[in-house]
């Protein structure tokens, strides 16, 4: 695999925390250039100039971290284009600074709590899709009794378990197959209500992603984008 392909693959692991999708499939990576010396220059773009600065910062900073994890890369430049706080974000990320350095006096802390909140939402949304499949041929008690090892093998299930691991929530073979956002088990008489809520969470993430895709297409018609290999 070329170094450029590896860089793109690494960028494919960078998630838009608000949408729970990789920035590469969302079309947010507009260019990725790798020189013969291994220097990497990546440009990012977002659906509107006013996308929230905290999430914009996270994606830019995560992109830089992902690229730096690829063996053999030289100098790294990540630029967020066409954003109203782009200058502040680009400078802070290039310096290796934190979010608070980009916006001094405008934040109380880092973005850990914000990221955690949205990873938990993402987990609920992912599990909603798994549960929708399960309710087709299981009754509620059976679903709540399922252990991780009894879940059907599917990409959605895999993604749920990965995220449970990332969030330090129980995900061993004998742990509950579905859990609430805080890792607790779901009681059979709560399942239908939980599913209604979880389905709305999933819809929120998906419909936001749909709006973002539509706006990006209006903003950058026929403009190229980089996709992960």
């Amino acid at each position: 695999m070329t170094l450029r392909a590896q860089v793109l693959e690494a960028l494919g692991e960078v998630i838009d925390p608000e949408l729970d999708e990789p920035i590469t499939t969302l079309g947010f990576v507009s260019s990725c250039v790798v020189s013969t010396e291994g220097d990497v220059s990546v440009h990012l773009r977002l659906p509107t100039p006013q996308c929230a600065p905290n999430f914009a910062y996270l994606m830019t900073d995560d992109a830089r971290a992902a690229i730096s994890s690829v063996p053999g890369v030289g100098a790294i430049s990540v630029t967020l284009d066409d954003h109203y706080t782009g200058a502040e974000i680009n400078q802070a990320v290039a310096r290796g600074g934190a979010f608070a350095d980009a916006f001094p006096g405008e934040t109380r802390g880092d973005l850990t709590a914000l990221r955690l909140l949205f990873r938990r939402k993402a987990l609920v949304g992912r599990q909603a899709r798994v549960c929708e499949e399960l309710v087709r041929d299981h009754d509620d008690a059976a679903i709540c009794a399922l252990r991780v090892r009894e879940l059907p093998a599917s990409p959605d299930v895999q993604r749920c378990l990965e995220l449970r691991g990332e969030l330090d929530l129980p995900h061993a073979d004998d742990d509950p197959g579905l859990v609430a956002g805080d890792g607790s088990a779901i009681a059979p008489d709560q399942l239908r209500m939980w599913l209604r809520k979880a389905r709305l969470m999933s819809l929120s993430l998906e419909s936001n992603a749909a709006i973002c895709r539509s706006l990006l297409a209006v903003r950058y018609p026929e403009s190229p984008q980089e996709v992960a290999p």
């Binding site: 608000e18 659906p47 509107t48 100039p49 006013q50 996308c51 929230a52 600065p53 905290n54 109203y84 979010f99 916006f103 405008e106 934040t107 109380r108 802390g109 880092d110 973005l111 709590a113 914000l114 909140l117 949205f118 939402k121 609920v124 609430a180 956002g181 805080d182 209500m193 939980w194 209604r196 809520k197 979880a198 709305l200 969470m201 819809l203 929120s204 998906e206 419909s207 936001n208 749909a210 709006i211 539509s214 706006l215 209006v218 903003r219």
Partner: protein
Amino acid sequence: MYEHDGEKYFILDAHLHFWDASPENWVKGREQYAKGWIECFHAYQGLGPDDTHWTIEHFMKYSVDDFEKDVFTEGKVDHAVFQSTYLKDWYTEGFNTAQQNAPLLERFPGKLTLNGRWDPREGEAGLKQLEEDAKQYNLKGVKLYTAEWYNGSRGWTLNDDVAQPFLEKCQELGIKNIHVHKGPTIWPLDKDAFDVSDIDHAATNFPELNFIVEHVGLPRIEDFCFMATQEPNVYAGLAVVVGGLMHARPRFFAKVMGELLFWVGEDKMLFGSDYAIWEPKWQIEGLLNWDYPDDTFSDYPRWTTEAKKKILGLNAAKLYDIDVPQELRLTEETSEPGAEDDARLVEFDNV
């Protein structure tokens, strides 16, 4: 007034604008924000049908005649509510202020309601201005934009101590309809700027006020729905849901409408075109002709004639005390609350 399949509908557009975003109105040194803002709005217009797209020049500044044609002549809107948005940090005379909107009230008597605004960061002077505006324009509502920039601050929330006197003043002056629009910035910047929990608190503390959450809290529709089920005085403003999804993403539109009808209910949803982002005509006709695309949506509440009548006009007419001709009213009050019983005490923490 629309006639559709033998039924007559009173149309109240609860969210529209008459703005000036032309370069002559851009604050010197802030041009990139003024330009970015209107270009962003213009991109949203791109989510509507092709034949409703405007040039950016037309979009930046349109005339009273354009407004009349789009809203009253072709849109057949019976009554509309102006939502004032100031943004004076970026627009010299404001984006669409009460003063800019007021001449249209005289031009179209009885057809327009003007909403004011306030910003708690303006303190005593802001309170005084609110009192004057209330008297001058007979305000029944305000539009709050929590992400507005002011003197170096990038936003505020309804929970802030400084906001409480303004909410009290609204209650005292009978300004009972509080439209809230969440935007991308809020201090401190590490918080989720679209979080709607401050509206939850305000709605509990000010039960005489109605809180209309614009674009149903998008992009946090889940938080909004869970909150709206618990607060009898929280309403869903449909601006952006119809304009942004109905044409561009019809399956998502169907799901979002189904969820809103389930969680919030047809008595608490208000149509708003968000003109001039989108023209009202295609949105109203779209809603009248709409239904769920197939039977995979069967466990959502139905889209009935009664639901259409309420959402397209009667709900907002009630909030704004607008007189609806007898023949356009519902024959009898048969309204049911939304999913209140099923959905009470829902919070994200227990999902």
